[in-house]
Amino acid sequence: MEIINNLMFGFSHALTMHNLMYVAIGCFVGTIVGLLPGLGPLATISLLLPLTFSIPTGGALIMLAGIYSGAQYGDSVSAITMKIPHASSIVACIDGYQMTLNGQTGLALFTAGVSSFIGGTVAIFVLAALAPALGEVALLFGPADYTALMLFGFVCVSFVTTGSLLDGLAMCMVGVLLGQIGTDVNSGVARYTMGIPQLLDGIGLVSIALGCFGIAEISKNLDNREERTPFSGKIKLMPTWPQFKRIIPSALRGSVVGSFLGILPGGGPVIAQFAAYAIDRKFSKHRDQIGKGAIEGVAGQAAADEAAARTSFIPLMSIGIPENAVMALMMGAFIIKGIQPGPNMIASHPDLFWGLVASMWIGNCFLLLLNVPLVRYLLSIFKIPYNVLFPAILFFCCVGTYSVNNSLQDVFVTAAFGLMGYIMLRLSLDPAPLMLGFILGPMLEENFRRSLLLSRGSFSIFVTRPIAGTLIALIAIFVVWNFIVFVRQVRRNRAANGDATVPAEAD
């Protein structure tokens, strides 16, 4: 019953006039920006982050959570109606878009909305039950364990988001190195600042995020312009009762899968969607229709998406380690507002923590009551041609960058990262792990150096402690297994056609 009490306490904080307004604005604006092609949750959050600077801490965190869930719904709407994929809505493109082709757009959008609501609701209880418990476990962690956990997170994220372990790990390290720019906290030495005083505080989070995910994406979109015909079909939202009944079991399955996968390192919405979709294809009553526009194909993945997005807050808030790039960005935002997420957050700021949890659920209600019925009007944003849209997005990137420090120099930093992000996109390097590396870099160094101090310079500390040792062993197994798969592929291809090459994306 403690959970209920805690949630009640949270609702008492979330249900103030101001906080309700922040949730509503967050969800609404998040959905609109999330709809725009090329702007996934990462870009949406970093673009809207400056909006939260002038708001009190509690409200700001609540608004960010709202923006995140709004952005996700926006992504799935553009996936369902126009097959525009974002990182978080690839699966929605399959059955969702197929339903649009079958003339069932409204049903698909309604299914996605209701399923997210179900997923979010289940996840709130998981979050409320697990986060405080995990926070107590986190107190057992020493610096070596934290180091190992972060490395484990890098490996998992690299594998999950990019599918290529080497590429992902390399990007994590690029991020770690970028995080080194600025003053070293231990010695006070200014590192890699090239004599520029603005760099003493390090590179701004918003500059990196907007450069790599905003500017770079826009330039890439400009390169391959395909005129999209805006969606103009009819939208009939309300389903019939038999249709509605089909949503429930699939959404519940998705919620459970999503809640679980959201907690694991490297987990989160992307992998949860695929898992939920695969499970529906195997166990759903209508599995023969999945892939051809089945309600289950939309419901399961939408619920998993939402549930995983919610439960991925658990490692961030209870251990203090973000598990994926979006959570890394959230952590950066928390720190900007003066809150260090971690085992102490729940104890020292219970009002913030439980208020945030409660407001997530309120956000789900808003999405269901506000955004789903209004979706046909939101879609009119696609009537604006990209020629008009992209200067406006650039403007928002500039204002966002500027208002962090009221500094126009930061715009140059953002532009520089835009170039770097563009080069990386063209090299098919995914910038998402970079974000995680950038945020975790300083923490990784701190814990790494502290472990070496404790062990008097012996690296064995990373293997002999039970928690760290287990994690390092898992990493080793993962890396070796990956290497074996690659060597086998080369051999098999050589045996098959005397050609030593393997498809570039596989390893």
């Binding site: 909006l51 002038s54 080497l166 590429d167 390399a170 390290m173 690029v174 190195l177 080194q180 070293d184 231990n186 010695s187 030495v189 590192r191 890699y192 500017i215 330039s219 400009l222 390169d223 312009r225 990209y386 020629n387 008009v388 992209f390 200067p391 406006a392 650039l394 403007f395 990137c397 500039c398 204002v399 500027y402 208002s403 009221n406 126009l408 120099q409 715009v411 140059f412 953002t414 532009a415 835009g418 170039l419 563009y422 080069i423 063209r426 090299l427 098919s428 160094e445 150096r449 070496l452 101090l453 008097r456 310079g457 690296f459 030593a500 090459t501 393997v502 498809p503 570039a504 390893d507």
Partner: protein, 140 residues
């Protein structure tokens, strides 16, 4: 030479080299007492090895040419830089107008009248940000 996998490895190796050589300028300390240069040197060494091995691996994988269009990214970056300079020395209204008129060269069609309209709307939004949200934009 235009092989994306090879270029990827080279890009990462060069990046690692810059940071690794930079790290040597700071005191690396000893393993017992790591200095400020220790961690960056270690990470860039690993990244360098990764980059070189990716470049080597490119030999075993299919060649994928890298696409790279200089025009659009150059226009976007140029208009951002112009925005920053104009906002610093003139005011942000000029900056926004420049941003719109310069960046739309990357679009498919160019229209002065449309650009004027976009600029006007964006300046309006900037005023809302300034008055409504309290952002300190140097608009005039």
């Amino acid at each position: 030479m235009n092989n994306r996998n090879l270029l990827k490895g080279i890009f990462l190796a060069v990046f690692a080299l810059i940071f690794g050589l930079g790290a040597l300028k700071y005191n690396t300390g000893t393993v017992q007492r790591p200095g400020p240069g220790f961690f960056p040197f270690m990470v860039s060494s690993i990244l360098f090895v990764l980059g070189v091995s990716m470049a080597a691996r490119a030999h075993f994988t299919k060649r994928v040419p890298m696409e790279f269009t200089v025009k659009n990214i150059a226009i976007v970056l140029g208009s951002l830089a112009g925005f920053a300079v104009l906002s610093e020395y003139v005011n942000m209204i000029a900056g926004i107008t420049f941003l719109v008129f310069a960046s739309t060269f990357a679009g498919t069609r160019y229209s002065w009248r449309r650009n004027l309209a976009i600029s006007a709307v964006l300046v309006g939004i900037a005023f809302v940000f300034q008055k409504g949200l309290g952002l300190q934009l140097p608009l005039y």
